[in-house]
């Protein structure tokens, strides 16, 4: 590991100022589970490391009536797994968190870090995009802005964060009635594995007619960013979805993705697995939508 200067700011403002001052030379340290292996392998060689874990305002889980669920960016995946609020209102987030890495890594790794690292395979991204999440960013001086998560990712390791900006919160809207969500992660092992293909689906069905009123289908690990597939969504919206529609949507997704060949899988295999996993994920989301409660906020 190369030497670097270490900073441990106690406030957000101090952290933003440091980031701005050392723009291009600094890395933010949160859970460290991506950063430290990068330093160890000398793939990342920052001159400055800014540890934001000493900032208390970034570690909380709140369920707010207007915003839905709000996660501070320092919330770890094991905190997501053990949160009663999440278990009751957003069980899908627990389900996804359990698919990430290992118990030890989940004790360290944070939701904000997973998003800011911007790996195309990041497990939290497809499901959060499918849930229509937004992220709150803060810049030096304290000005905040929010951005749909879908627009946050620019490329592998690249985000919409401006110099000096820090991701402070993730907002996840309330799940409406008759809405089902699913995240399927294809891997060759069951733990400590990076997704070959990750598919998140959200499906909402109308009352009585069971016609589909909303779909979001988001694929991870198959493009330079997590990818939403409007072509597949269009096939399903407005219909009482049958198995042929699901097949057609899955095929459209397979055609839309732009995966690479790497050590985990070939481009062709990924495309075919997108088809298979989209089908399964849509089926699971539809089945969950059918069994989801009728009451709640419209």
């Amino acid at each position: 590991m190369k030497d670097f200067e270490y900073h441990s700011p106690a406030t957000l403002e101090e952290a933003c100022q440091l980031l701005k001052k050392y723009d291009g030379q600094a890395k933010v340290l949160a859970g460290g589970t991506d950063l430290i292996p990068g330093l160890y392998r000398r793939e990342i060689v920052p001159e400055q490391v800014i540890n934001i874990k000493g900032i208390p305002s970034l570690n909380f889980i709140a369920n707010e009536e207007s915003k839905g669920l709000v996660l501070g960016s320092l919330v770890t995946f094991n905190e997501i797994i053990s949160s009663p609020i999440i278990e009751e209102h957003y069980p899908i987030l627990k389900e996804v968190a359990e698919k990430i890495a290992s118990h030890q890594v989940r004790n360290l790794a944070t939701i904000g870090g997973n998003l800011c690292n911007a790996a195309p395979s990041a497990d939290s991204a497809p499901i959060l995009i499918a849930l229509d999440s937004t992220v709150a960013l803060i810049e030096p001086g304290g000005k905040e802005r929010t951005l749909p998560l879908e627009k946050f990712f620019i490329g592998p390791g690249e985000t919409a964060l401006a110099p000096g900006e820090i991701l402070i919160q993730v907002h996840i809207p309330l799940l409406k009635p008759r809405t089902g969500v699913s995240y399927l992660k294809q891997t060759s092992r069951q733990a400590l594995e990076i997704a070959v293909v990750g598919v998140a689906a959200l499906v909402r069905l109308e009352k009585k007619t069971e016609k589909c009123s909303l779909v979001r289908l988001v694929i991870g690990a198959c493009a330079s960013t997590p990818l939403r597939i409007p072509a597949a969504e269009k096939i399903l919206v407005g219909k009482k979805i049958g198995s042929q529609d699901i097949e057609a949507a899955a095929k459209a997704a397979s055609e839309a993705v732009k995966p690479i060949t790497d050590v985990r899988a070939s481009k062709l295999y990924r495309k075919e697995m997108v088809r298979v996993q989209c089908k399964r994920s849509l089926e699971e989301a539809i089945s969950r939508a059918k069994s989801s409660p009728e009451t709640g906020m419209e």
Partner: protein, 155 residues
């Protein structure tokens, strides 16, 4: 490079040390404090050999900078036994023969310790989930799972 002063408590003993920012917790424990029961395998959070408890949570100590442990309470395998008696998990590993070469054992025991404390109700598959971040290259997993299960079920 400027060294940082940090104060931490390891196995109920207070330490004040000076470290470079790039020193990882596992290197501090092994090289500075002489606690070589914590093993270093991959150095990138994949093998679990360096697992320690940090403020009660099992973490890969290769994924934590020593400076991050300022003010933290660390437990390594050396800190589990008390008054000459092994921790129940250590005893179960011995009794079940869940140790072959021993390299993975401290990490296995410490992750199991954290997992059992946080999950009072365990299903059969949870024992494997608990140690899914720990590699045993002797492949002695069956006996390791048996030892953890023995403690969980209070035998």
């Amino acid at each position: 490079m400027m060294k940082h002063r940090l104060n931490l408590r390891v196995n109920k003993q207070d330490f004040e040390v000076f470290v470079k920012p790039k020193t990882t917790l596992v290197d501090l424990l092994r090289d500075e404090l002489g606690l070589t029961g914590t093993n270093k395998g991959c150095g990138t959070g994949e093998c679990g050999a360096c697992t320690v408890l940090m403020n009660g949570n099992a973490v890969n100590s290769c994924l934590v900078l020593a400076v991050e442990a300022d003010g933290a309470e660390i437990t390594t395998i050396e800190g589990l036994a008390s008054e000459g008696r092994l921790d129940p998990l250590q005893q179960a590993f011995v009794d079940e023969g869940a140790i072959q070469c021993g390299f993975c054992t401290p990490g296995m025991i410490l992750v199991a310790k954290d997992f059992l404390e946080k999950n009072p109700q365990l299903r059969e598959e949870d024992y494997k989930t608990a140690i899914s971040g720990n590699l045993c290259r002797c492949t002695g997993y069956v006996k390791i799972v048996k030892a953890i299960k023995k403690v969980a079920e209070g035998e």
